[in-house]
């Protein structure tokens, strides 16, 4: 599957899961801040990705829980450089470059964009091949 095919499939499943308009589901759109995803929507998205792409997503692999509450990684409400390094290692499909400029812990969920999902699915399909 090409990048574009994966994106189109993800776009359709997000329109369904989040009741948003197709044109709002751009690669850069953030799942929470731009598309209004709430906690249960993340489980819905995981289920729909598994179904659409025939992949298995272990709990926490795509969207880890409680990121902003891990005391080792957070100081004065911000994620520490060591914390960001650990997150990058754990979440290779996530682009942290914007977040690093202002790593407010409570906003960490905003790193999950449509592009994150496309990249994650690409990696999973490559592993499967």
């Amino acid at each position: 599957m090409t990048h574009d095919e994966i994106f189109t499939t993800i776009q359709a499943l997000l329109v369904d899961a989040l009741a948003v308009d197709e044109e709002d589901v751009t690669l850069g759109a953030r799942l929470t801040a731009d598309l209004g995803a709430e906690s249960i929507d993340f489980l819905d998205i995981v289920f729909k990705l598994q179904q659409s792409f025939g992949i298995n997503i272990p709990q926490g692999e795509l969207f880890p829980e409680g990121l902003s509450q891990q005391a080792d990684y957070v100081k004065d409400g911000k994620v520490t450089p060591a914390g960001i390094a650990a997150l990058k290692a754990r979440l290779p499909h996530v682009d942290f470059s914007k977040f690093e400029a202002d790593p407010v812990a409570k906003k960490v969920a905003e790193v999950f964009t449509v592009e994150t999902l496309v990249r994650y699915v690409e990696r999973k399909l490559q592993q499967k091949a």
Partner: protein, 177 residues
């Protein structure tokens, strides 16, 4: 009043499918509160006793919730977390029977998604044979909240599945729980 919106479970395929029925009765108070008669200057609206859509959704939530709860031996606290779709195109009136079929689409440690079909068995309009007619679909998502709320703690006893639902399964004759 018991918060029970299904009367009998007629089929259970553990972890896959559960079918339940709800009899709509004129004796139920909520039918009268939903669209009561109204008179006002120059107009009048007669009472329209109907099964409210919100309670049809609750009926499906109980049908699908028991299915998901039963799959894990009622150990998980199964909470309705999202109504993904709810479309019903015909009213259910006193004397009708609603038939809810819930099927598991996906289920894991964190929760489950279900697909639901709503059928109506009407003594007057569904044919002399009383065959069920599909009138809509209700798709839901459930969360196993102990595993899915970022480490929040909930009471250890299962407040979702009181004895009522286990009694219903038992008296319906579909499962020993």
């Amino acid at each position: 009043m018991r918060w029970m919106w299904i009367d009998r479970i007629v089929e259970l395929v553990p972890g896959k499918k559960l079918v339940a029925v709800k009899l709509v009765s004129m004796a139920e108070e909520h039918l009268h509160a939903h669209f009561p008669a109204r008179t006002w200057e120059g107009g009048h609206r007669s009472a329209t006793p109907l099964m409210p859509m919100s309670l049809i959704i609750e009926g499906m939530a109980q049908t699908a919730g028991v299915l998901v709860g039963h799959a894990e031996g009622f150990r998980e606290k199964v909470i309705l977390a999202k109504v993904s779709k709810a479309e019903v195109t015909r009213d259910a009136r006193p004397g009708d029977t609603l038939r809810y079929t819930a099927e598991v689409l996906q289920m894991d440690r964190a929760g489950a998604s279900t697909k639901g079909t709503v059928e109506l068995i009407s003594p007057t309009s569904s044919g002399s044979s009383g065959e069920p007619v599909v009138i809509g679909g209700i798709d839901l998502m459930f969360s196993h909240i102990d595993n899915n709320m970022g480490g929040q703690e909930f009471p250890s006893w299962n407040f979702v599945f009181s004895d009522s639902f286990k009694t219903l399964l038992r008296t319906s004759g579909v499962a020993q729980v």
